[in-house]
Amino acid sequence: MCQQTVCLLQAAIERAGIGTVSISLLREVTSVIKPPRALFVPFPMGYPLGEPNNAPLQHRIIAAALGLLERDDVPVLDEFIR
Protein backbone atom coordinates (compact mmCIF):
# COMPACT_ATOMS: atom_id res chain seq x y z
CA MET A 1 0.00 0.00 0.00
CA CYS A 2 3.04 2.22 0.40
CA GLN A 3 3.28 2.39 -3.35
CA GLN A 4 -0.29 3.57 -3.76
CA THR A 5 0.18 6.18 -1.01
CA VAL A 6 3.28 7.53 -2.78
CA CYS A 7 1.39 7.78 -6.08
CA LEU A 8 -1.56 9.61 -4.50
CA LEU A 9 0.70 12.04 -2.65
CA GLN A 10 2.64 12.62 -5.83
CA ALA A 11 -0.52 13.49 -7.76
CA ALA A 12 -1.62 16.00 -5.11
CA ILE A 13 1.79 17.69 -5.06
CA GLU A 14 2.06 17.82 -8.84
CA ARG A 15 -1.44 19.34 -9.03
CA ALA A 16 -0.15 22.09 -6.72
CA GLY A 17 2.31 23.00 -9.49
CA ILE A 18 5.38 21.23 -8.13
CA GLY A 19 7.41 18.80 -10.24
CA THR A 20 7.59 15.32 -8.70
CA VAL A 21 9.34 12.02 -9.20
CA SER A 22 8.91 8.84 -7.19
CA ILE A 23 10.62 5.51 -6.70
CA SER A 24 8.53 2.45 -7.54
CA LEU A 25 9.07 -0.93 -5.93
CA LEU A 26 5.96 -2.46 -7.47
CA ARG A 27 5.60 -1.90 -11.17
CA GLU A 28 2.16 -3.52 -11.14
CA VAL A 29 0.79 -0.86 -8.80
CA THR A 30 2.53 2.14 -10.34
CA SER A 31 1.53 1.19 -13.88
CA VAL A 32 -2.14 1.14 -12.85
CA ILE A 33 -2.18 4.31 -10.73
CA LYS A 34 0.02 6.22 -13.19
CA PRO A 35 1.76 8.98 -11.23
CA PRO A 36 3.46 11.62 -13.43
CA ARG A 37 7.04 10.29 -13.15
CA ALA A 38 8.35 7.16 -11.51
CA LEU A 39 11.54 5.12 -11.59
CA PHE A 40 11.02 1.40 -11.09
CA VAL A 41 13.90 -0.14 -9.17
CA PRO A 42 14.75 -3.87 -9.16
CA PHE A 43 14.81 -4.26 -5.38
CA PRO A 44 12.51 -5.87 -2.83
CA MET A 45 10.07 -3.94 -0.71
CA GLY A 46 11.92 -2.21 2.10
CA TYR A 47 14.87 -1.37 -0.21
CA PRO A 48 13.74 1.56 -2.36
CA LEU A 49 17.27 2.94 -2.75
CA GLY A 50 18.94 -0.40 -3.22
CA GLU A 51 21.11 -1.19 -0.23
CA PRO A 52 21.60 0.31 3.21
CA ASN A 53 24.90 2.13 3.72
CA ASN A 54 25.71 2.05 0.00
CA ALA A 55 25.82 5.75 -0.78
CA PRO A 56 27.19 5.35 -4.34
CA LEU A 57 24.29 3.09 -5.33
CA GLN A 58 21.79 5.36 -3.60
CA HIS A 59 23.22 8.34 -5.52
CA ARG A 60 22.94 6.52 -8.85
CA ILE A 61 19.29 5.74 -8.21
CA ILE A 62 18.54 9.30 -7.07
CA ALA A 63 20.30 10.75 -10.13
CA ALA A 64 18.32 8.49 -12.46
CA ALA A 65 15.08 9.53 -10.77
CA LEU A 66 15.91 13.26 -10.77
CA GLY A 67 16.67 12.98 -14.48
CA LEU A 68 13.00 12.17 -15.04
CA LEU A 69 12.01 15.63 -13.74
CA GLU A 70 12.86 16.95 -17.19
CA ARG A 71 10.18 14.79 -18.76
CA ASP A 72 6.79 16.21 -19.63
CA ASP A 73 5.53 13.21 -21.63
CA VAL A 74 3.73 12.01 -18.52
CA PRO A 75 2.97 9.50 -17.16
CA VAL A 76 6.57 8.21 -17.32
CA LEU A 77 7.51 4.88 -15.75
CA ASP A 78 11.21 4.31 -16.37
CA GLU A 79 13.39 1.48 -15.05
CA PHE A 80 16.64 1.65 -13.15
CA ILE A 81 19.19 -0.67 -14.72
CA ARG A 82 21.70 -1.76 -12.17
Partner: protein, 200 residues
Protein backbone atom coordinates in the same frame (compact mmCIF):
# COMPACT_ATOMS: atom_id res chain seq x y z
CA UNK B 1 -8.69 -23.27 1.50
CA UNK B 2 -10.85 -20.31 2.27
CA UNK B 3 -9.97 -17.02 0.66
CA UNK B 4 -12.66 -15.02 2.40
CA UNK B 5 -10.29 -12.46 3.84
CA UNK B 6 -11.15 -8.85 4.62
CA UNK B 7 -8.65 -6.29 3.44
CA UNK B 8 -7.19 -5.65 6.84
CA UNK B 9 -6.91 -9.34 7.63
CA UNK B 10 -4.99 -9.77 4.42
CA UNK B 11 -2.65 -6.96 5.32
CA UNK B 12 -2.02 -8.53 8.67
CA UNK B 13 -1.79 -11.99 7.15
CA UNK B 14 1.32 -10.72 5.42
CA UNK B 15 2.91 -11.01 8.84
CA UNK B 16 4.12 -14.49 8.09
CA UNK B 17 6.37 -13.02 5.47
CA UNK B 18 9.78 -12.28 6.88
CA UNK B 19 10.52 -13.02 3.30
CA UNK B 20 13.14 -10.56 2.24
CA UNK B 21 15.19 -11.03 5.39
CA UNK B 22 15.18 -14.78 5.03
CA UNK B 23 15.99 -14.54 1.36
CA UNK B 24 18.92 -12.30 2.13
CA UNK B 25 20.28 -14.59 4.77
CA UNK B 26 19.91 -17.65 2.57
CA UNK B 27 21.52 -15.96 -0.40
CA UNK B 28 24.85 -17.60 -1.34
CA UNK B 29 26.50 -14.19 -1.56
CA UNK B 30 25.33 -13.08 1.86
CA UNK B 31 28.40 -12.06 3.80
CA UNK B 32 26.91 -10.37 6.80
CA UNK B 33 25.96 -7.10 5.19
CA UNK B 34 22.64 -6.96 3.43
CA UNK B 35 22.79 -8.16 -0.14
CA UNK B 36 19.77 -7.98 -2.37
CA UNK B 37 19.41 -8.51 -6.09
CA UNK B 38 15.95 -9.80 -6.78
CA UNK B 39 13.10 -7.80 -8.21
CA UNK B 40 10.11 -6.92 -6.11
CA UNK B 41 7.10 -8.18 -8.01
CA UNK B 42 3.89 -9.80 -6.92
CA UNK B 43 5.58 -13.15 -7.44
CA UNK B 44 8.00 -12.36 -4.63
CA UNK B 45 5.27 -11.77 -2.09
CA UNK B 46 3.58 -14.32 0.11
CA UNK B 47 0.35 -15.93 -1.04
CA UNK B 48 -1.66 -13.85 1.39
CA UNK B 49 -0.18 -10.58 0.23
CA UNK B 50 -0.48 -11.63 -3.42
CA UNK B 51 -4.16 -12.34 -2.94
CA UNK B 52 -4.57 -8.94 -1.40
CA UNK B 53 -2.65 -7.17 -4.15
CA UNK B 54 -4.58 -9.00 -6.88
CA UNK B 55 -7.96 -8.24 -5.32
CA UNK B 56 -7.34 -4.65 -4.22
CA UNK B 57 -9.03 -2.17 -6.60
CA UNK B 58 -5.91 -0.14 -7.45
CA UNK B 59 -7.58 0.98 -10.71
CA UNK B 60 -10.10 2.91 -8.61
CA UNK B 61 -7.23 5.29 -7.83
CA UNK B 62 -5.82 5.74 -11.31
CA UNK B 63 -4.67 9.35 -11.63
CA UNK B 64 -6.45 10.91 -14.57
CA UNK B 65 -5.80 13.24 -16.17
CA UNK B 66 -2.10 13.09 -15.34
CA UNK B 67 -0.99 16.38 -13.78
CA UNK B 68 2.24 17.76 -15.20
CA UNK B 69 4.21 20.55 -13.56
CA UNK B 70 7.36 21.49 -15.41
CA UNK B 71 10.36 22.59 -13.38
CA UNK B 72 10.36 26.37 -13.31
CA UNK B 73 14.15 26.47 -13.11
CA UNK B 74 17.09 24.08 -13.51
CA UNK B 75 17.55 21.52 -10.75
CA UNK B 76 20.74 23.20 -9.57
CA UNK B 77 18.65 26.28 -8.81
CA UNK B 78 15.62 24.41 -7.47
CA UNK B 79 14.36 24.05 -3.94
CA UNK B 80 13.82 20.36 -3.22
CA UNK B 81 11.78 18.52 -0.57
CA UNK B 82 11.50 14.83 0.29
CA UNK B 83 8.36 12.87 1.01
CA UNK B 84 8.53 9.34 2.35
CA UNK B 85 5.86 6.80 3.26
CA UNK B 86 8.22 4.84 5.51
CA UNK B 87 6.43 5.87 8.71
CA UNK B 88 9.38 7.90 9.98
CA UNK B 89 9.13 10.43 12.78
CA UNK B 90 11.42 12.14 15.23
CA UNK B 91 11.51 10.84 18.77
CA UNK B 92 9.57 13.79 20.12
CA UNK B 93 6.67 13.35 17.66
CA UNK B 94 3.62 11.20 18.34
CA UNK B 95 3.53 7.73 16.81
CA UNK B 96 1.37 6.85 13.84
CA UNK B 97 -1.89 5.07 14.64
CA UNK B 98 -1.19 1.48 13.72
CA UNK B 99 -4.66 0.36 14.88
CA UNK B 100 -6.58 2.38 12.28
CA UNK B 101 -8.03 -0.27 9.97
CA UNK B 102 -8.11 2.04 6.96
CA UNK B 103 -4.61 3.29 7.68
CA UNK B 104 -3.48 6.46 9.43
CA UNK B 105 -3.41 9.27 6.81
CA UNK B 106 -1.63 11.74 9.10
CA UNK B 107 1.86 13.05 8.44
CA UNK B 108 4.90 14.19 10.37
CA UNK B 109 6.92 17.23 9.44
CA UNK B 110 10.62 16.40 9.45
CA UNK B 111 12.87 19.46 9.92
CA UNK B 112 15.69 19.68 7.41
CA UNK B 113 18.17 20.09 10.24
CA UNK B 114 17.37 16.72 11.83
CA UNK B 115 20.09 14.19 12.57
CA UNK B 116 18.83 11.30 10.44
CA UNK B 117 20.18 8.78 12.95
CA UNK B 118 17.57 10.02 15.39
CA UNK B 119 14.60 9.20 13.15
CA UNK B 120 12.33 6.43 14.35
CA UNK B 121 10.78 3.97 11.89
CA UNK B 122 7.45 2.67 13.13
CA UNK B 123 5.70 1.50 9.97
CA UNK B 124 3.06 -1.15 10.71
CA UNK B 125 3.50 -3.23 7.56
CA UNK B 126 4.86 -6.75 7.86
CA UNK B 127 5.49 -6.99 4.14
CA UNK B 128 9.02 -5.60 4.17
CA UNK B 129 12.25 -6.02 6.04
CA UNK B 130 12.40 -3.29 8.69
CA UNK B 131 16.00 -3.98 9.65
CA UNK B 132 17.41 -2.52 6.44
CA UNK B 133 15.84 0.91 6.77
CA UNK B 134 16.55 0.95 10.49
CA UNK B 135 20.23 0.34 9.75
CA UNK B 136 20.26 3.21 7.22
CA UNK B 137 17.26 5.49 7.07
CA UNK B 138 18.59 6.95 3.81
CA UNK B 139 17.33 3.79 2.13
CA UNK B 140 13.80 5.22 2.31
CA UNK B 141 14.44 8.86 3.25
CA UNK B 142 17.68 9.91 1.56
CA UNK B 143 18.18 13.20 3.36
CA UNK B 144 21.92 12.68 3.83
CA UNK B 145 22.29 11.92 0.11
CA UNK B 146 20.37 15.10 -0.78
CA UNK B 147 22.55 17.10 1.62
CA UNK B 148 25.52 15.82 -0.38
CA UNK B 149 23.81 16.90 -3.62
CA UNK B 150 23.14 20.31 -2.09
CA UNK B 151 26.76 20.76 -1.03
CA UNK B 152 27.91 19.69 -4.51
CA UNK B 153 25.59 22.23 -6.09
CA UNK B 154 23.60 19.56 -7.94
CA UNK B 155 20.39 20.90 -6.42
CA UNK B 156 19.73 24.51 -5.46
CA UNK B 157 18.68 24.01 -1.84
CA UNK B 158 16.80 21.67 0.42
CA UNK B 159 13.51 22.88 1.81
CA UNK B 160 13.41 23.66 5.53
CA UNK B 161 11.06 20.71 6.08
CA UNK B 162 10.17 17.33 4.61
CA UNK B 163 7.18 15.05 5.15
CA UNK B 164 6.64 11.50 6.35
CA UNK B 165 3.54 9.34 6.09
CA UNK B 166 2.95 5.73 7.09
CA UNK B 167 2.15 4.20 3.75
CA UNK B 168 -0.12 1.30 4.61
CA UNK B 169 -3.30 3.24 3.89
CA UNK B 170 -5.86 0.73 2.67
CA UNK B 171 -8.72 3.24 2.59
CA UNK B 172 -7.11 6.41 1.19
CA UNK B 173 -10.14 8.74 1.09
CA UNK B 174 -8.92 11.04 3.89
CA UNK B 175 -5.44 11.02 2.37
CA UNK B 176 -6.84 12.09 -1.01
CA UNK B 177 -9.29 14.65 0.35
CA UNK B 178 -7.38 16.07 3.28
CA UNK B 179 -3.79 15.29 4.15
CA UNK B 180 -2.23 14.96 0.68
CA UNK B 181 -3.61 18.34 -0.53
CA UNK B 182 -2.64 19.85 2.84
CA UNK B 183 1.00 18.79 2.40
CA UNK B 184 0.92 19.91 -1.24
CA UNK B 185 -0.21 23.37 -0.12
CA UNK B 186 2.53 23.52 2.53
CA UNK B 187 5.15 22.62 -0.09
CA UNK B 188 3.73 25.24 -2.46
CA UNK B 189 3.78 27.82 0.35
CA UNK B 190 7.45 26.94 0.88
CA UNK B 191 8.03 27.63 -2.85
CA UNK B 192 9.37 24.15 -3.37
CA UNK B 193 10.21 23.43 -7.02
CA UNK B 194 10.68 19.66 -6.94
CA UNK B 195 9.71 16.75 -4.68
CA UNK B 196 11.34 13.32 -4.48
CA UNK B 197 9.08 10.59 -3.08
CA UNK B 198 10.03 7.19 -1.71
CA UNK B 199 7.92 4.23 -0.62
CA UNK B 200 9.43 1.53 1.58
Amino acid sequence: MSIRYGLQELMIAGGDLEWSKNRVKSHPDFTGSLFIREMATYDDLSLHVRLFMKSYPFSRYTITPTPCARLARPLDESRVALVTTAGLRSVDQSDFDRSDKRGDPSFREIPNTIDTRLLVESHRSYSFDHEAVRSDVNLAFPLDRFRELESQGAIGALNHRHFSFMGSIVGPRRLIDETAPQVARMLADDRVDAVFLTPV
